[in-house]
Amino acid sequence: MKYLDEYRDQRIARALAAEIAQCTNQPWVLMEICGGQTHTIMRYGLDELLPREIELVHGPGCPVCVTPLETVDKAIEIALLPNVTLVSYGDMLRVPGSRSDLLRAKAQGADVRIAYSPTEAVKIARANPDRRIVFLAIGFETTAPANAMAAWQAKREGLTNFSMLVSHVLVPPAIRALMVSSSNRVQGFIAPGHVCTVVGCQEYEELVRDFRIPIVVGGFEPVDILQAVLMLIRQLESGEARLENEYVRSVSYQGNLPAQQIMAEVFEVADQKWRGIGSIPRSGLRLRREYAAYDANQVFDLSDLTIDEPAECISAQVLQGLKKPTDCPAFGMRCTPENPLGAPMVSTEGACAAYYHYRRHSVAS
């Protein structure tokens, strides 16, 4: 299949791995930002192909994992209200809040539905004028344009029964927070290709400049990731720090301008809490005042929830690349995908779940 097979080709992957081994003379710690990339690394065992000197640590780029407990609790509270339909991306349904999850709310009678696109939620609102439809709008810059489009469409049509519970996070402020942390070990980043497809590369160039750290915008297939690792190692070994783009088949420097436009029209940058990490200034998106009528926080009288997560949480350390999931004493024992203690064990993009699903055997041996 075109655009897939050539990026999963054993000969190309092996050749890249050999070249990486040849270029590597000292230990390096690299972080892939996106959970989709973590998933690929674990699924294809890419770390097994790399020389010992290279350590891959896994970044905070799993949208499900970093969605705060409060948002999950609020979504459940809304879903259980009479006459409400809560629409969500599929993998949010199993994420535990502080007491329950959306699958359980559904079993209790809540009308919870899975959508592949937020505009489906608008369609449901249009077709059911007597019900209140709430879309759980989470994610990084990748889902933001489509989520923005849903609010824009609802506003244009004058729908009064549609709203969104927004919990949007942005990648560059998170990288900045990692870099200024005194415990940071990361020496090079694989930037998330799909985020850059939307927003372009400019902000990543600023990060390279501010922290003198190499960043390569990477794709999601095995060959993409190995190529990105090679590009990073070449820079690191020669003492360079540049922004490079490995994912040229999708990412342009300026990104997708119409997508940025609709994001800017509907959302504004705001401080944002990340589950397991804490609050990061200007690292999220919220609906603009003009869209207040579509903000579920305004539409519903929600209890003012603040749930504190202790700072010493291991999932926080996993999401910041300081620890591996297997460093956690609960991994695979008290914490499994059936009984997740934390969000990284829930989504397939979560680092803990990726280790659990694909690599338990190498952990055991």
């Binding site: 065992g45 559904k106 209790q108 990084f140 004493p329 995908p337 009984n339 055997h361």
Partner: protein
């Protein structure tokens, strides 16, 4: 949890306490994954202890006056009722016939029960019943008894069908999921994921360039061909299973656990249609967990594997059959897979349903 001296230190995790899974039934309990297995283990098995049930195969085998009878039952709750490649009527014959056939039984008779929601169209019911009749006729089984119940509007989802089947198993044939041995080959009769993706595409209104058809089919004649290929070495055929809900991965995990062996798959030889692969890539699903309704997995001793493979390929329902892996001593109870890059990963059993990824 860590220990310092003899004092146990509790590691504070900020993440919420685990949610108990035993309080209410979730949709995942019907997914064929770990939740289903736990439900059977905790609720049903203790209640009905008996040797036939304890085998935990797709069909029960009972001996009546020297005749070996296979019995199985299955309920069909598919939405939509009509889908490319079949409908709930034909599916409810194929599913039960296949569960009998996997035990090596010749399917003979079916009972069919219809749970119909008030307001359901009689015309649609007629179409479904006639499709069921056609499928039964084609499979050489008769529907000899049945039942009809009507539930109030809103208390059922249109139509549910339950079918129960009985068949005869030849003497000397012993097939069971606990018979896989290291060295055995894993044979798969054709492409995976067709049924699940066909249903999903229809239900969600997803459009692809070419329509994906369900593989729903009765497999008993394919089983006859397989049995003929091992007629002199019957014990070389260890077990057969049809990987329905939960997909190939759940079926193989069950076999690995029941036989206490490891199963090693080769990803590059898995037969997957391009449309199914494309749809799965798009939706973030793994075809190994997607349901099939016209495929079988056979575990065969190495000496007979090629003969069985040839017999499958000579049959129209097994034309794309492949040897997809080997049973091993290593990693007992686990299914692992060699990726196209030569590395190895686990093919886990899912807890509940596979949920589409966000991005």
């Amino acid at each position: 949890m860590s220990t310092k001296g003899s004092v146990e230190i509790k590691v504070e995790l900020s993440c919420p306490a685990p949610l108990p899974v035993k309080d209410t039934i979730l949709l995942g309990h019907g997914s064929g994954g770990k939740l289903s297995a736990a439900l059977i283990r905790d609720v049903f098995l203790p209640a009905f202890q008996n040797p036939a049930l304890a085998r935990m195969d797709d069909q029960a085998l009972v001996d009546i006056n020297g005749q070996r009878l296979a019995i199985t039952t299955d309920s069909f709750v598919v939405k939509p009722l009509f889908f490319p490649g079949g409908d709930i009527g034909s599916l409810s014959v194929h599913g039960t016939v296949n569960d009998l056939a996997m035990g090596g039984a010749t399917p003979l008779f079916l009972a069919a029960a219809f749970i119909i929601e008030e307001g359901f169209s009689i015309d649609e019911l007629r179409r479904i019943v006639s499709s069921l009749q056609r499928a039964a006729h084609d499979a050489g089984v008769q529907v000899v008894t049945g039942d009809t119940k009507v539930v109030e509007k809103g208390k059922g989802d249109g139509l549910f069908i339950n079918t129960t089947g009985i068949g005869l198993v030849p003497n000397g044939l012993e097939l069971s999921a606990d018979r896989a041995r290291p060295g055995d080959k894993i044979l798969l009769s054709g492409s995976i994921g067709d049924h699940g993706i066909a249903i999903l595409a229809q239900r969600e209104g997803l459009e692809f360039e070419t329509e994906i058809q369900s593989d729903s089919a009765a497999l008993h004649t394919l089983v006859v061909a397989i049995l003929a290929a091992v007629s002199r070495t019957t014990s070389d055929l260890r077990c057969m299973r049809d990987p329905t809900r939960g997909g190939v991965s759940s079926t193989l995990n069950e076999i690995a656990q029941q036989s206490r062996v490891g199963i090693e798959l080769e990803e590059s030889v898995l037969p997957i249609r391009d449309q199914v692969r494309g749809a799965c890539e798009l939706l973030g699903l793994d075809p190994l967990y997607v349901a099939n309704e016209g495929k079988l997995i056979a575990i065969v001793a190495p000496d007979s594997a090629n003969a069985v493979l040839q017999a499958m390929r000579d049959h129209p329902l097994g034309a794309e059959a492949q040897i997809i892996g080997t049973v091993s001593k290593k990693n007992a109870g686990l299914v692992t897979m060699r990726t196209p890059l030569g590395t190895t990963r686990i093919v886990d059993m899912l807890a509940g349903d596979q949920l589409p990824r966000i991005c």
